[in-house]
């Protein structure tokens, strides 16, 4: 078992937080994990991404060329990372910021790949925190793959927020659940 996920979006969209949380939850669930952020001043305003690996074997390389999973929160990320998605791989894409187009180019890009279009920004707003779209994405992702339990998620989230941001626990959890149920609905609707 080995999951390789790249998360990508704007600097302010909480990409690193989400990736880190994913790895942490994976670890708490008993897996080997690695989390590799891309960082630095170029992040300000630009795109930002990170790579998470969750596996039941030792992880050597934390770098992944062709991930099996993508979480894409904005448009530039879509064009940057979809080509790297393994064929047969799955991407959760924020449909609020990435427009589905009916061009041939677009078609070629997504051929062989499964794209889950979710209005993550709207879902986050519905959950009461427009900033928590990253948690919606994690909710959707875990709703789909069931990598870790609810309890573990809460433990990891609490750890990530620390004392200073403990008050944000509830809103983040709500967003997580929003994402999770959105997936459920989506899957049921298919």
């Amino acid at each position: 078992m080995r999951f390789e996920i790249i998360l990508s979006g704007f600097g302010g969209q909480g990409i690193l937080f989400a990736g880190n949380l994913l790895a942490l939850a994976g670890m708490y669930q008993g897996y080997q994990v690695s989390f590799l952020p891309v960082y630095g001043p170029e992040m300000r305003g630009g795109t930002c991404h990170c790579t998470v690996i969750i596996s039941d074997r030792e992880i050597s390389s934390p770098l992944v060329k062709e991930p099996g999973y993508l979480i894409v929160l904005n448009l530039p990320s879509f064009f940057k990372f979809i080509p790297r998605l393994r064929s047969g791989g799955l991407a959760i894409v924020n449909s609020d910021l990435v427009e589905r187009r009916e061009t041939e180019e677009f078609h070629n890009l997504t051929m062989d790949k499964e794209i889950l279009w979710l209005p993550l920004s709207s879902l986050a707003e519905q959950a009461g925190s427009p900033l928590a779209l990253n948690m919606c994405a994690i909710g959707a992702f875990n709703g789909l793959l069931k990598l870790f339990s609810e309890k573990i998620f809460k433990k990891a989230l609490r750890e990530m927020l620390g004392k200073d941001k403990a008050h944000l626990f509830e809103v983040n959890r709500r967003a997580y659940l929003k994402g999770k149920s959105a997936i459920k609905n989506l899957k049921e609707s298919i």
């Binding site: 880190n20 790895a23 080997q32 994990v33 690695s34 590799l36 992880i59 390389s61």
Partner: protein, 360 residues
């Protein structure tokens, strides 16, 4: 009781390792990608009665380390490439004065300001010429968070054992990636230092720690003493070998690059390719003998593919170690475009098919 597992960055593992190793004072100057070290130390050291001080520059930081070490502290600094260059003079003094301390270089792309992503471009600087003169560091190159933690803790003991600075040579990948770290209390010895540290000349004559030897014979003697010390350090040589000897090609890599290579080697071995893996953990002293033994371990002449994230540096040490006992191939990725395991696999297969050796 199971020991605690936490998810940390490599640089945090280094800082935690330092604390586990008894580090009681830190002086440094901010530079990406290792700011988590001073930031963590600024919280933790004062809590434990230790000293944290942000210096006004790397030059002053290393000199604060020098002072603290001379009075017996387990002192440390950390920086990244340009900051390390600024410490060169201090390094040479620390070596000459035989003062123990731990220096962390989380390498980033160079030369100049370069970039902030990973690099192994300071290999030569670390192992050949940390400063002017002949002095050397003991250089340790961890490749995982656990190893970063353990080697850093151990570094304090080694520094005192040899009265010599020890460098942890890491890079921005290992520095910035997070993975589980198993926290345990490593057994790190503390050495008796009362016979050489400065502590006030109470009931004894004043003591002097100096590196100036205007008498050329005295200076030569000091140099010989240091050289002998480096030879003694060879008992500390560490490496990871994943080869039975029958392989046709051995990958040699250290640090983060070794992780990427190891994955490639695993994959190829699973597919039956005659490929082995050799990872120096001490970069100085360099595991010359172990490499030679590997080269001679079977009849067939082997290829050694040295993979680095620079323009080709460690390959020279491998060549000098093997002295013709194998074919040396260099796969040097100039910082900071990282290869993926797949890329390494492709290169290995190419090399396996190669009939002649490249001249490096």
């Amino acid at each position: 009781m199971k020991s605690k597992r936490i998810l940390v960055k490599g640089v945090e593992a280094i800082a935690l390792g330092a604390l586990a190793g008894g580090c009681n004072c830190y002086f440094g100057y901010p530079i990406t990608p290792q700011n988590e070290i001073p930031e963590l130390m600024s919280v933790e050291l004062p809590k434990r009665g230790g000293v944290f001080l942000q210096a006004e520059s790397e030059t002053s930081a290393i000199n604060m380390v020098l002072g603290a070490s001379a009075v017996g502290a387990r002192a440390m600094t950390s920086s990244s490439s340009p900051g390390i260059s600024l410490m060169s003079e201090g390094f040479s003094y620390l070596i000459a004065l035989e003062l123990p301390c731990v220096i962390v270089n989380v390498m980033r792309g160079g030369p100049g300001l370069g970039g902030i992503e990973a690099s192994q471009g300071d290999y030569f600087q670390a192992v050949k010429a940390p400063g002017h003169g002949d002095g050397k560091f003991l250089v340790l190159a961890p490749y995982s968070c656990n190893e970063a933690y353990e080697l850093t803790a151990k570094a304090f003991e080694l520094a005192e054992k040899y009265r010599n600075p020890v460098m942890i040579l890491s890079d921005a990948i290992l520095g910035q990636m997070k993975e589980p770290l198993t926290l345990k209390s490593p057994k790190i010895k503390t050495l008796e230092k009362d016979d050489w540290i400065l502590s006030g000349a109470k009931d004894r004559p004043g003591r002097v720690i100096k590196s100036l030897f205007l008498d050329s014979a005295e200076l030569a003697e000091r140099n010989l003493k240091l050289k002998q010390k480096y030879q003694k350090m060879e008992v500390e040589i560490k490496f990871e070998r994943l080869a039975e000897g029958s392989e046709e090609l051995i990958i040699v890599a250290f640090g983060s690059m070794a992780r990427i290579c190891k994955e490639a080697v695993f994959n190829l071995r699973a597919r039956g390719y005659p490929v082995g893996f050799f990872r120096p953990i001490t970069l100085f002293p360099f595991p010359r003998k172990a490499l030679c033994e590997l080269a001679e371990s079977h009849q067939k002449r082997k290829k050694f593919l040295v993979v680095e994230l620079n323009c080709g540096q460690m390959v020279e040490d491998v060549a000098s170690a093997l002295c013709g006992k194998g074919d040396i191939l260099s796969l040097a990725y100039p910082p900071s475009v990282l290869p993926f395991p797949e890329d390494i696999e492709r290169e290995i297969i190419k090399c396996l098919n190669l009939s002649t050796s490249l001249n490096v």
